[in-house]
Amino acid sequence: MFRALQATFGIAVVVFLLMPIFAILPLAFTSSVFLNYPIPAYSMRWMHELTTAEVWRTSILNSLIIGSGATVLATVLGTLASLGMRRGALPMAGLLRTMFLLPMVVPAVVLGVGMQIFLVRLGLASTYLGVIIAHAVLCIPFVIVSVSAALQGIDPTIERAASSLGARPVTVFRRVTLPLAIPGVVSGAIFAFATSLDEVVLTLFVAGPNQRTLARQMFSSIRENISPTVAAAALLLIVGTLCLGGLGALLRWRQGRKTAAAAA
């Protein structure tokens, strides 16, 4: 009796968690003009619309530009900071860490209002650079968390062994530390890109009509004239995220094999 109850509860929650994601995907291929079931016939018209309609095409392009910019900026800054915070050589490391993670905590709307006023004063409102900077602020915590975790996993004795064998600090870093940290950097970059891809609120505040991203376009489409293009865009986002996640997993796996081979 208790077992059956447990199983029912578990299945119900799994369905609750997964049903929405699986419900939206088939609608990318509906032939109807409504974002709703039943699907009268399967067609590619909305995928076609997504890739040919001006607003959607530019928004995809904008997402790629802004996402890449924010990812590069956040990954470089975040990786440097993680390297610096390693080994606890810094005073007030705890305080710094809290500050670095704060952008994850501050409500997006609050940051959005401040960012809007601030970027207007700098003359960066409604520019690509402004949006990239705003997104990078949100992405940095993800990079720092990911790279710090990778650095923590490095056995310091390996580095000590390298220097005792005569390698200079720069060489130790380049030949030992960095290769071991790379998977963390890559997964940090993937997190950063995914964060930028999904960002709506800050974009609403700081982007002009020329910097409309895919997520922003989906937001206004759901709000104003919902059409199955939203489902097509959702499919694109899910496939994109899966590819990125798969890439990260692949890299980790290869790294794992390499370290295992080195240890053997």
Partner: protein, 395 residues
């Protein structure tokens, strides 16, 4: 040895410095800008500096002295920046209606006069004899104001400067804050009620069953928030899957209202935030030694008693930090209520966005944003203290 430590330290600092500078400029400074936007009120005093220093001595009775009126004329004839002047006029007009037309007549007259010193304001427009406008001018002069933060709390200063409540039909910020807390509390409770047993179940299972349960939690986390919100839109609408299914099995005759109301917002937010509840509880339960439960039972406690006295108290830290996390994220939510809620389900973030992007009232947006920021920061501080001290005894 000492110089080595110093070198390490300066090297580390050099690596961390770029992020510190970047976040200081593009994160802390914007937040500070927002806070100051709520308190700075220098639109008028910037344009009319002479009037500002002269009107201070006026007692608020009748009309200010000749010197003050002269100063105003001088300021108006010297004002050249179109945009700054426009902002000052807007600020004054919001304090005393009619100020726009009054200045609209006065400024050209002052500028056209051959000798501004000879202009008599009352002759240009008799409204300059009205104390009301001078009072508004005087009150707009101090460069800092508590007007926005009071308005954010549905308060205002009356004519004598005492803080009083704003009329209930003018402003509803307190109502919206209360609603924000209510929705966040409902979502937190829903997440706890579903998430706690779910985490326990996942921790008690092994093999593929546990993997499925955990995957179901992590997969939505990896899915775009927009995608999930759009998906709930599809499920909850009147012709949506849920209503159709319920109608098909004959449970209901007409569609249940599930979207554009509180229920829809709570369902979708629970779905989005459930992982933040399950994961901390799960990790705490995993840290509880398994033999504790059997020890309790071997000492004569029934399974329910063993749960109440052993497992539940030990997993409370996870439940608490999960609840804090969910509540903290929920009070700042914008997208889900904006897309799935009705007019009566908009939370504080929507109001802030409305003032900032809709009406360009950055002062009020900043004041409301400050309140949200303070509440979130306090919750985060509690969460931070809590999750560092959450060590399961014996583990």
């Amino acid at each position: 040895m000492k110089s080595g430590v110093l070198r390490d330290r300066s090297g580390a600092l050099l690596l961390v410095l770029p992020v510190i500078v970047f976040l200081a400029v593009f994160f802390l400074w914007p937040l500070w800008t927002m806070v100051t936007a709520a308190f700075v009120d220098d639109a008028v005093s910037k344009v009319l500096p002479r009037t500002a220093s002269s009107i201070v001595s006026w007692d608020g009775q009748g009309v200010p002295s000749q010197a003050t009126r002269k100063a105003l004329v001088q300021d108006l004839s010297a004002a050249s920046e179109e945009q700054a002047l426009g902002e000052a006029v807007r600020r004054l007009n919001s304090a005393a209606s009619g100020f726009r037309t009054l200045l609209g007549r006065t400024i050209p007259a002052v500028k056209a006069a051959p000798d501004p010193a000879q202009v008599d304001l009352a002759a240009v427009d008799p409204r300059w004899n009205d104390t009301r406008f001078w009072v508004a001018l005087k009150e707009a002069m101090p460069p800092y104001t508590d007007r926005n933060i009071l308005a954010a709390l549905d308060l205002k200063r009356d004519a004598s400067g005492i803080i009083v409540a704003e009329a209930a039909d003018v402003s509803a910020h307190r109502l919206i804050m209360l609603r924000t807390l209510m929705v966040a509390a409902m979502v937190t409770v829903a997440c706890a009620v579903i998430g706690f047993p779910y985490a326990m179940l996942a921790a008690s299972l092994t093999g593929w069953k546990r993997s499925v349960l955990l995957l179901a939690v992590v997969l939505p986390l990896w899915t775009s928030l927009l995608v999930r919100t759009a998906a709930w839109f599809i499920l909850l609408q009147n012709e949506g899957l849920i209503n159709r299914a319920l109608q098909a099995i004959g449970l209901i005759d007409s569609p249940l209202p599930l979207i554009f109301n509180r229920l829809g917002v709570v369902i979708a937010m629970t779905h989005v935030l459930l992982p933040f509840m399950v994961l901390p509880i799960y990790s705490v339960i995993l840290g509880i030694p398994r033999n504790l439960m059997s020890a309790a039972q071997s000492m004569g406690a029934g399974p329910i008693r063993a749960f109440w006295r052993v497992l539940l108290p030990l997993s409370l830290p996870g439940l608490l930090s999960g609840s804090l996390l969910v509540f903290m994220v929920a009070i700042g939510y914008y997208i889900t209520p904006a897309l799935l809620g009705g007019a009566n389900d908009q939370m504080i973030s929507s109001v802030i966005a409305f003032y900032a992007t809709g009406t360009a009232n950055w002062g009020l947006a900043g004041a409301l944003g400050l309140i949200l920021l303070v509440v979130t920061t306090v919750l985060y501080a509690i969460y931070g203290r809590f999750s560092t001290s959450q060590q399961v005894p014996g583990a």
